[in-house]
């Protein structure tokens, strides 16, 4: 699998997929897409990088342990649900604000935070599974 062509292309491919995954994540706000599928795309991007260049460059590149990333995602998702305690509505109620930044109205919500959390959980857990499998292949 580690051909020259693949190894040269893989980093570009990975970065493109990562950007696309963020696009899919944000698009899920109003249209098909969302955290889960975005996380899967990002995880497969890292998996491709791992196949092409080996597992340890991937681990170095993402800096944190994949499970720690998943943990952060879980934390974000839980916090997004709890925020509704401050405005006296039940757990997990979506809260929205519409700030104007440079004349453009942004629709921000706790749902988005939750979705980013899901993105990170999927990214972290699937990446850690994929890396575990790739690592063992070489043993």
């Amino acid at each position: 699998m580690r051909t020259l062509i693949f190894r040269t292309v893989a980093p570009y491919f990975t970065s493109l997929m990562l950007i696309y995954s963020v696009f899919v994540l944000l698009r899920g706000h109003n249209e098909p897409g969302g955290g889960f599928i975005g996380g899967l795309i990002a995880a497969s991007a890292l998996a491709i990088y791992g196949v092409a260049c080996g597992v340890s460059p991937v681990r170095r590149a993402i800096r944190f342990h994949p499970m720690a990333i998943a943990g952060f995602g879980l934390f974000m998702a839980a916090i997004a649900g709890v925020m509704s305690i401050f405005v006296d509505v039940p757990f997990l109620t979506g809260l929205w604000i519409y700030p104007k930044v440079f004349g453009v109205e942004l629709k921000l919500s706790t749902t988005l935070i939750f979705d980013i959390g899901v993105y990170l959980v999927v990214l972290g857990s699937i990446t850690s599974t994929a890396l575990a499998l790739e690592e063992r292949e070489r043993d």
Binding site: F72, G73, A77, A78, G81, V89, P90, L92, T93, G94
Partner: protein, 526 residues
């Protein structure tokens, strides 16, 4: 989405407009705390010490939340919160009645005891690989499974607790563990998938997934025979497998002795009881009529489960596997109450379930302590413990009596209730099975006791040292649980009051339905 722009829509038809009381948050608190602290622990995977402290703090907070919830439900009746303000049955409802709150409370105690015991049992490598995060997530899954009021949501929590338990059971990755984990994982996954099939049919028939809504609609559909009964059998099959009832018990003795003792202990205390809980909830709250029809079948399953479990325990040489079979035997007793269906029987079941959660966990913890002291779990090589630590022997005897149902410990009272319930309806054979299984359990446990404590230590084995300083922590965890069983045995009045009230609520599901729908009885028929 509650967009501020569309204020012309009348939200009252679709949403809960009343503000939830702060106390209502207690229903969601175990879930929130478990997830937040589990997540923090996952992020702190390198810093084992800090991770441990955070995790224990989280477990303690969860227990406090469970206690608060229990008191609240005891005083004010069923506590309900609907996620995201969507009116039930559209939103996912969390509803804590006495059944859920009681089980959640005991689960909190078991989780904390397991967490404390793990301080000196689980090495730092296993902790780095996520012992505490998985424990917290599993406890959150178990507790929320007790508290949710939506059957698909129940499935989701089953899966949450299942995947965390997978993480726990493979910690250490020894050959034995992988073997046990394979059997545990596949059979449990098949069981939850069967549960999901049942949910699919349920949705096809009822068009709703809210338990209270189903309970409300069930009587009308009862006449229409057909799929209704098939769904009930599907659930019985799936949850009997989760609860390790005979003849679907093979996975439990194949796997429960393989992981770390702290893991075995919380598994024994929590996992099978979720299956029992689901059976109680489905057959008593949702389909009481089907329970009446299946009662005889459940009774036979219950009798066989307790006898097979006790006989299996007699045939084992490994102490942990003896305990594995005793877990199964206890499941039979809990099912006996469900089979009887009378308030006395159900009350006995509930009390026995709580007793079993506490005592089985304590027994596993104790097995861990004596196994560590003797250097083996094999009864052939056991011996000499009495000289080393007579007090440990007393502890072991208390727990052995308690699990066998001898006075004056907590196993006695629920068995009295169950035997009385069986004789009331003339099911003398069920009463006989309960007594015989108790007798067999006594033999199995006393054998464990006499071989590991009274027999002199065989030649050529290492001397048994005193319990080390950090080994004491383990002892405290076991002692705390044992104290509970002694208290419940000597002074059972309040415990029986609780289980009677649970049984009353379960046999009168209307209170549960009313609590979920509030005053809004017409709300959201499809």
């Amino acid at each position: 989405m509650a967009s501020a722009k569309k204020s012309d829509v009348n939200l009252e038809n679709a949403m809960v407009m009343a503000d939830p009381a702060l106390a209502d948050w207690l229903v969601a608190a175990p879930l929130i705390l478990g997830f937040i602290f589990g997540a923090i622990c996952l992020m702190q995977r390198k810093n084992v010490l800090l991770q441990t402290r955070i995790a224990l703090f989280g477990l303690l907070l969860m227990l406090i939340a469970d206690i608060g919830l229990f008191i609240n439900v005891w005083q004010n009746g069923t506590v309900v919160m609907t996620m995201g303000r969507w009116l039930p049955p559209f939103g996912i409802t969390f509803a804590a009645d006495m059944l859920g709150a009681t089980f959640a409370l005991v689960a909190g105690i078991v989780g904390l005891a397991g967490g404390i015991y793990a301080l000196s049992d689980v090495d730092s490598t296993s902790r780095r690989y996520g012992f505490y995060p998985f424990l917290l997530l599993m406890l959150a899954g178990v507790t929320t499974a007790f508290l949710t009021g939506d059957i698909f949501n129940l499935y989701v929590w089953f899966e949450v607790l299942l995947i965390s338990s997978f993480g726990l059971i493979v910690l250490g990755s020894e050959r034995r563990q992988l073997d046990g984990a394979i059997k545990y994982a596949f059979l449990n996954l098949v069981a939850t998938t069967l549960f999901l099939i049942g949910v699919a049919y349920l949705y096809g028939v009822f068009g709703t997934l809210n338990m209270a809504d189903i309970a409300r609609k069930a009587p009308a559909l009862q006449e229409a025979e057909g799929p209704h009964f098939a769904i009930a059998i599907m659930f019985l099959f799936a949850f009997a497998m989760k609860a390790a009832a005979f003849p679907l018990n093979a996975w439990l003795p194949a796997s429960y002795h393989t992981p770390r003792i702290a893991v075995s202990a919380v598994f024994a205390g929590l996992l099978t009881k979720v299956g029992v809980y689901a059976l109680l909830r489905i057959f008593l709250t949702m389909f009481p009529a089907d329970r009446d029809e299946l009662g005889a079948v459940i009774a036979i399953i219950a009798a066989l489960t307790m006898l097979v479990g006790a006989l299996g325990a007699l045939a084992q040489t490994d102490i942990r596997r003896v305990l594995g079979y005793l877990v199964i035997s206890g499941i039979g007793l809990m099912l006996a109450g469900l089979a009887l269906g009378s308030e006395t029987g159900i009350s006995g079941s509930i009390f026995y379930a709580a007793h079993s959660m506490i005592v089985m966990t304590a027994l596993y913890l104790l097995a861990g302590i004596i196994g560590r002291l003797m250097g083996t779990f094999d009864l052939h090589k056991a011996g000499g413990l009495y000289q080393a630590s007579p007090w440990l022997g007393a502890l072991c005897l208390v727990l052995a009596f308690s699990v066998s149902g001898l006075p004056p410990f907590s196993g006695l009272w629920p068995k009295v209730l169950l035997v009385k319930g069986s004789i009331d309806v003339g099911a003398w054979w069920l009463a006989a099975a309960i007594i015989v299984s108790g007798f067999l359990t006594t033999i199995a446990m006393v054998r464990v006791f006499s071989f590991s404590f009274w027999r002199t230590r065989a030649e050529g084995l290492v001397e048994i040292g005193p319990i080390s300083r950090e080994g004491r922590i383990k002892l405290y965890a076991a002692l705390g649980l044992t104290a509970l069983t002694v208290i419940a045995g000597v002074y059972p009045e309040p415990f029986i009051q609780v289980s009677d009230r649970v049984a009353f609520e379960l046999t009168h599901p209307q209170t549960y339905i009313d609590a979920v729908f509030g005053g809004n009885q017409e709300g959201g028929g499809q």
